[in-house]
C-alpha cells in the first residue's frame, strides 16, 4: 500500500492520481471538477485545510492550485494539485479557505466561483485594478500608484447605538501597522474586522529568479522574531528538493536555535500581556530575561535575532563548545528566574481578574479556521508541528505538546510561560549531547519542488519552493499568523474595547509575517 491508502482507506483517491510522495507530503493530481466532492469527504474525516497556494506554469495562463490538508494521526500532509483557471471556492466547506483564495485572486487574478468575499486582501488602493503581481508576465518594477481604485469596504454593522471605532494603521505603541475596525455597543465589541496588507513588501515575487542561497536571507526577512523558523522551513524545503541530509551537528544546532528563538520570542508575549494590564514590575522582569537570551543569541551567532546563521545544507559556521556551555548557563539562570516570576505574576489578584475569561478562543473554531500554535494549544488541542510532523532534531528528541483547556488570556499566558520553560529545558539537555563534526554539506542545485513545515513560536509555518533552471521559480510561505488573525476577530466578541490590547498581545501575531 502506498500513498494515502496506507492511512485512510475510506478516502477514494485512485492510485493513478498519485504524483509523488516524500518525507513531508503525499501529492495527488485531482481533476478540477472533483475537488469540492473530495474536500467534503476529507471534512468528514476530520481533516483541516491548512493552506492553498497557486503556481503559474510555463504555458501562458495555466495555473496550478495546491491544497494542503492535515489529517489526524497522519505524519505527512496530503496535497491535492489542481490545474485550472476557473476554480471553485471551498469556503463553505473550509472557512479558512477564504483568505487563501483572496490572496490568490490578488496575486494571480484567478476568480473563485461561489466565494462570498471577493475583496482584495494584501493589495491596497495604491495598486491599479487588474494588477496581479504574481503573474510571470508582470515584471517586478516600481508601479505608478493608482488614484482611481475603489476604497476597501468594511463589513457594515447597523443598529441603534452601534458605533465604529477605527484603530490604526499607526498604533499607540512601538508595534507594526494594521487596521482594526470595531463595531461597538456601549463598551461591548459586537464585531471586529482586521485589515492588514500595510506591510506588503512583495517578498514572494522578490524571491523569484534569485539563487536558492539568497532565498534563505529572504525567508529570514519575513518576520524578525521568527527569523530562524522561517529560514529553517525554507532551507528544509530546498534540502528536500536536493535530497540533502544535513550533518548531525547542524541538526542539533538548528534545534538549539529554534528553541532559543521560541523562548525569547514568547518572553516578549509574556511581558506584553502583563504590560497591558499595567503590571509593569513583572513586565520589566520578563524583559530582563528576554534581553539575557537575546545576548546569548548574539554570542552564538553574532546577531541578536539569530539572522544569517541558517544556510542550505546546515548552518553557516560552527559554534565552539565553550560558547555553547556559556549559553547553557544563561539558559539555566533564565529558567530559574522565569519559574519564580511566572508563578508570582499569575498569583496577583489584579492579573487574574484581567486575564481570566477574557478573549476566549473556543475549541470548535480551531479546525474551521486552521488555527495553530499556542492559540490552539491553550484551547485544548495538542497541535504542534514538532509532534505531529516531526522534523530535524524532533525526530530524535521528541517534544510533547503542552496544553491548557480554558482558551482565555490566562490560558495563553500560562501556556506560553510553560512553553518557554520546556524549551529552555530542551536546550539545556541537548547542549551537552551535541556531537562533534562538520556543520555544512556541499550540494549541487537541481530542479524540483517541495513543501516543508516547521513549528515557529506562533505555530505552523509552511514553505513551498520550486526550483527551475537552477533558480527559484516559486517561493511561497504561510506563517501561523495568517490563519491565527481570524482567532482574534472571534476572541474579542462580547469583550469590552479596553480589553482588546491584552487579548491582542496574548496572541501577539506577526503583521509582517502575514503581509509578506
Amino acid at each position: 500500500m502506498t500513498g494515502i491508502h496506507a492511512h485512510y482507506s475510506a478516502l477514494s483517491l485512485p492510485a493513478e492520481w498519485l504524483i509523488g510522495e516524500d518525507g513531508t507530503t503525499i501529492t495527488y493530481a485531482v481533476p478540477d471538477d472533483r475537488i469540492a466532492a473530495i474536500a467534503e469527504t476529507l471534512l468528514a474525516l476530520e481533516s483541516r485545510l491548512v493552506w492553498i497556494f497557486c503556481t503559474e506554469e510555463r504555458e501562458e495562463n495555466s495555473y496550478t492550485l495546491w491544497y494542503v490538508f492535515e489529517l489526524a494521526e497522519m505524519r505527512k500532509y496530503l496535497v491535492l494539485v489542481l490545474s485550472t483557471s476557473h476554480p471553485v471556492s471551498l469556503v463553505e466547506i473550509y472557512p479558512a479557505a477564504s483568505r487563501f483564495e483572496r490572496a490568490i485572486s490578488d496575486g494571480f487574478g484567478l476568480q473563485f466561483s461561489g466565494s462570498p468575499d471577493t475583496r482584495r486582501l494584501f493589495l491596497h488602493e495604491a495598486y491599479p485594478c487588474g494588477f496581479h503581481p504574481m503573474k510571470k508576465s508582470v515584471k517586478n518594477v516600481p508601479i505608478v500608484p493608482s488614484q482611481h481604485t475603489d476604497p476597501y469596504e468594511f463589513r457594515s454593522m447597523e443598529g441603534t447605538s452601534v458605533y465604529q471605532v477605527p484603530v490604526g494603521p499607526v498604533h499607540a505603541g512601538i508595534i507594526e501597522p494594521g487596521h482594526f475596525r470595531f463595531s461597538v455597543i456601549g463598551e461591548d465589541i459586537l464585531n471586529l474586522e482586521i485589515r492588514l496588507g500595510y506591510l506588503h513588501r512583495g517578498i514572494e515575487k522578490l524571491a523569484e529568479g534569485c539563487s536558492p542561497e539568497k532565498g534563505v536571507r529572504i525567508a529570514e526577512s519575513v518576520s524578525g522574531d521568527e527569523s530562524v523558523a522561517n529560514a529553517c522551513c525554507y532551507a528544509m524545503a530546498v534540502e528536500q528538493i536536493l535530497s540533502l541530509s544535513i550533518p548531525v551537528r547542524a541538526v542539533y544546532l538548528r534545534g538549539l536555535l529554534l528553541e532559543l528563538e521560541r523562548s525569547w520570542s514568547l518572553l516578549s508575549d509574556l511581558a506584553g500581556m502583563v504590560t497591558d494590564v499595567a503590571f509593569s514590575t513583572a513586565a520589566s522582569r520578563f524583559t530582563i530575561l528576554r534581553e539575557m537570551l537575546q545576548r546569548a543569541c548574539e554570542r552564538l551567532t553574532g546577531s541578536r535575532f539569530l539572522k544569517g546563521i541558517i544556510v542550505i545544507g546546515g548552518v553557516s559556521h560552527d559554534i565552539p563548545d565553550d560558547v555553547l556551555m556559556e549559553v547553557k548557563d544563561t539558559v539555566m539562570r533564565v529558567r530559574v528566574e522565569l519559574e519564580k516570576i511566572q508563578s508570582w505574576a499569575i498569583s496577583v489578584p489584579s492579573v487574574i481578574d484581567r486575564f481570566s475569561t477574557t478573549g476566549v478562543v473556543r475549541e470548535p473554531l480551531i479546525d474551521p479556521l486552521a488555527l495553530s500554535g499556542p492559540i490552539a494549544r491553550a484551547s485544548g488541542r495538542a497541535l504542534d508541528v514538532r509532534c505531529d510532523h516531526p522534523y530535524g532534531l524532533y525526530d530524535t528528541y521528541p517534544v510533547s505538546p503542552l496544553i491548557r483547556m480554558t482558551g482565555d488570556v490566562m490560558g495563553r499566558f500560562a501556556l506560553k510561560g510553560d512553553e518557554v520553560l520546556s524549551s529552555l529545558s530542551y536546550v539545556n539537555e541537548l547542549v551537552t549531547q551535541i556531537p562533534k563534526g562538520p556543520v555544512q554539506t556541499e550540494y549541487e542545485v537541481r530542479d524540483g519542488y517541495a513543501l516543508a513545515a516547521v513549528e515557529s513560536p506562533r505555530g505552523r509555518t509552511l514553505c513551498f519552493v520550486r526550483i527551475a533552471d537552477g533558480s527559484i521559480d516559486r517561493f511561497a510561505l504561510s506563517t501561523a499568523s495568517f490563519c491565527n488573525w481570524m482567532a482574534l476577530e472571534h476572541a474579542v466578541l462580547g469583550n469590552i474595547v479596553p480589553d482588546f490590547p491584552v487579548i491582542n498581545k496574548s496572541m501577539n501575531l506577526s503583521y509582517a509575517g502575514t503581509d509578506l
Binding site: 512601538i174 496588507g197 506591510l199 506588503h200 524578525g224 527569523s227 524583559t287 530582563i288 534581553e291 535575532f305
Partner: protein, 170 residues
C-alpha cells in the same frame, strides 16, 4: 490574612543590569546634547513602514530595564503631536505611504526624521520592486540614517548622538 502578608512581604532584591560601557557613554553624552539642543528631553514616535519587526523590538528595548533611556531624557510617545523625532523603520510600502505622510504632518516643528535599519536607509533588497517606494528619504526629508539589520541599541544611541552634536540649539 493572605492579602496582608502579600502586602507586607519585603520586596525581593533584583540584580542591577547594565547595558555595557559603549551604551552608557553614548547615553551620557546624548543627555548633555539633548539638554543643549532641545532643553531636557526628546520624544520619539516610531512608525513602521515595512519593517520585519526586528527594528521595532530593538527600539522598544531602549525603554527596557537593561537600557532604560528615560534616564537620558529620551521617551517614546503614542501621538506624533507629542513627538520631536520620528523614527521610521523599514522600506516604505505603498500601503504605508499615506499613513507615514499623515504622521509626519501631525508632528510639530521643529522635528527630525531618523531612518532606522538597512531597509529604511537604502531600501535594501526591496529597492526597485513593485510593492515599495524605496527608502524613507524617497518620501520624507531624512536627518539621520542608522544602518543595521536591525541596528543594535548601542548603534541607535550613537546615531542619535551624532545627530544632536551636528544640530544647532533650537
Amino acid at each position: 490574612m493572605n492579602l496582608l502578608s502579600f502586602l507586607l512581604k519585603k520586596p525581593e532584591d533584583v540584580q542591577a543590569y547594565t547595558p555595557g560601557p559603549a551604551f552608557e557613554s553614548a547615553g551620557h553624552s546624548l543627555r548633555q546634547e539633548i539638554d543643549r539642543v532641545f532643553g531636557h528631553s526628546i520624544a520619539i514616535r516610531e512608525v513602521d513602514c515595512g519593517s520585519d519587526n526586528a527594528a521595532e523590538i530593538e527600539l522598544a528595548n531602549l525603554s527596557a530595564p537593561h537600557y532604560d533611556v528615560e534616564r537620558f531624557g529620551i521617551t517614546f510617545v503614542a501621538s506624533p503631536r507629542h513627538a520631536d523625532i520620528l523614527a521610521v523603520t523599514g522600506v516604505v510600502t505603498h500601503g504605508m505611504k499615506e499613513a507615514l505622510l499623515k504622521t509626519y504632518e501631525a508632528t510639530p516643528e521643529p522635528k527630525f526624521v531618523i531612518a532606522v535599519g538597512d531597509d529604511a536607509c537604502t531600501g535594501g533588497m526591496y529597492a526597485g520592486t513593485y510593492a515599495t517606494l524605496g527608502p524613507v528619504d524617497a518620501v520624507l526629508p531624512v536627518d539621520l540614517k542608522i544602518p543595521g539589520n536591525p541596528p543594535t541599541p548601542v548603534a541607535i544611541m550613537e546615531g542619535m548622538l551624532g545627530l544632536m552634536k551636528s544640530t544647532k540649539k533650537r
